[in-house]
């Protein structure tokens, strides 16, 4: 058997395809990620200045007492929608010249169960995952415990994943 596979290897050596050495495929250095840190910074500033990360604003939203959060989420979706439409229509490429590629989402019941569970936590903490990071940044250090707990929640989900209804 061993001999057989060896023969196979000799007769069919692995050929290096052109795509293997294409610049896009090359592993980028860690500092290439700094651009995402800068986008995150701008995003974090908007989060704080628009009070998206405010526990009070989230309570207002779920009590239907203010339009503020609905205006933000609604106009963000609209902007994203128009942007993606334009990116697709004009076949805009990434800065590296790659075609833009968005993975489609598939439905499973997790979106219902998980969605409800997240909704409960959202109204308790007054924060989704992004705002947790921004809240810590504004100096509310106790939210790091909430973040650690959210990481623990993710970990427990990973542990139980196979046993959960989907």
């Amino acid at each position: 058997m061993q001999q057989h596979t060896d023969t196979v290897h000799q007769t069919q050596p692995h050929t290096l395809k052109a795509s293997d050495t294409h610049p896009i495929q090359v592993q980028q250095k860690w500092y290439a990620n700094l651009k995402y840190m800068i986008i995150g910074m701008l995003f974090g500033i908007v989060f704080v200045k628009s009070e998206v990360i405010s526990w009070f604003r989230i309570q207002e939203m779920f009590r239907l007492e203010s339009f503020h959060m609905y205006g933000i989420i609604g106009s963000a979706i609209l902007t994203g929608m128009v942007s993606i439409l334009l990116l697709k229509k004009f076949k805009i490429k990434t800065m590296d010249g790659e075609p833009i590629n968005i993975a489609p989402k598939t439905f499973n019941k997790g979106q219902i169960y998980g969605g409800l569970i997240f909704g409960l936590g959202w109204a308790m903490t007054g924060a989704c995952p992004g705002p947790l990071f921004a809240q810590i940044g504004t100096g509310v250090t106790v939210i790091s415990v909430t973040l650690l707990s959210a990481i623990a929640g993710t970990w427990v989900y990973g542990l139980l994943r196979e046993k959960l209804p989907r």
Partner: protein, 189 residues
């Protein structure tokens, strides 16, 4: 009013919403990345404590951008609070203020209520439920749902994904239930 002075005011929704929405094309153009934040929690698990769990066995280093992105969000919080703050209390609807006063929540000097979310209150039942249990539900729920407000509500709906619509509706139902029916019971503890 100067530029810096106006930046220091709270920003209206019609400025903030489109700016948040623009993150979607920015990430796509800069590096073909789909906007989503809750995945960062998974990458932290995979990098720090994979514990041989199949869900955490993947090449998280390829997703390092996401961790840089959330680090940036944290730094954005630092910048906004230190350089762009006018230190005015958060304004909320009078109706909410009246309701919260009934629970002893009257401090609006911070974006999170100092009356219930501080280090000492972690040791109270109310604080533990809100910050620790609440955080756990956020982490567990977003991963179970496959995304959060950014990945589903903004990125998913922007790309017309109907599973994201279902997830977003469920986020809202969960939040409505908690804020109106369950949270009042927690806040009187």
């Amino acid at each position: 009013m100067g530029i810096i002075e106006s930046l220091k005011q709270p920003w209206p929704w019609y400025i903030a919403g489109p700016l948040i929405g623009l993150t979607v094309p920015m990430l796509l153009i800069v590096g073909n990345k789909s906007f989503g934040i809750s995945s960062s929690l998974r990458h932290i698990c995979a990098s720090c404590l994979p514990a041989n769990i199949p869900f955490f066995k993947y090449d998280w280093k390829k997703e390092l951008w996401n961790l840089f992105f959330v680090l940036g969000i944290l730094l954005g919080g630092v910048i906004a609070a230190s350089l762009l703050s006018n230190h005015a209390p958060v304004e909320v609807s009078p109706k909410l203020a009246a309701e919260l006063a009934g629970y002893g929540i009257t401090d609006y000097s911070n974006l999170v209520p100092k009356d219930i979310m501080t280090w000492p209150s972690l040791l109270t039942l109310k604080g533990f439920l809100l910050m620790v249990v609440g955080g756990f539900l956020v982490g567990f729920g977003t991963r179970y749902a496959g995304g959060c407000t950014s990945g589903h509500a903004i990125m998913g709906l922007s790309n017309l994904q109907w599973p994201s619509l279902i997830a977003t509706i469920c986020f809202m139902i969960g939040g409505l239930l908690m804020a109106n029916l369950i949270l009042p019971l927690i806040l009187i503890l």
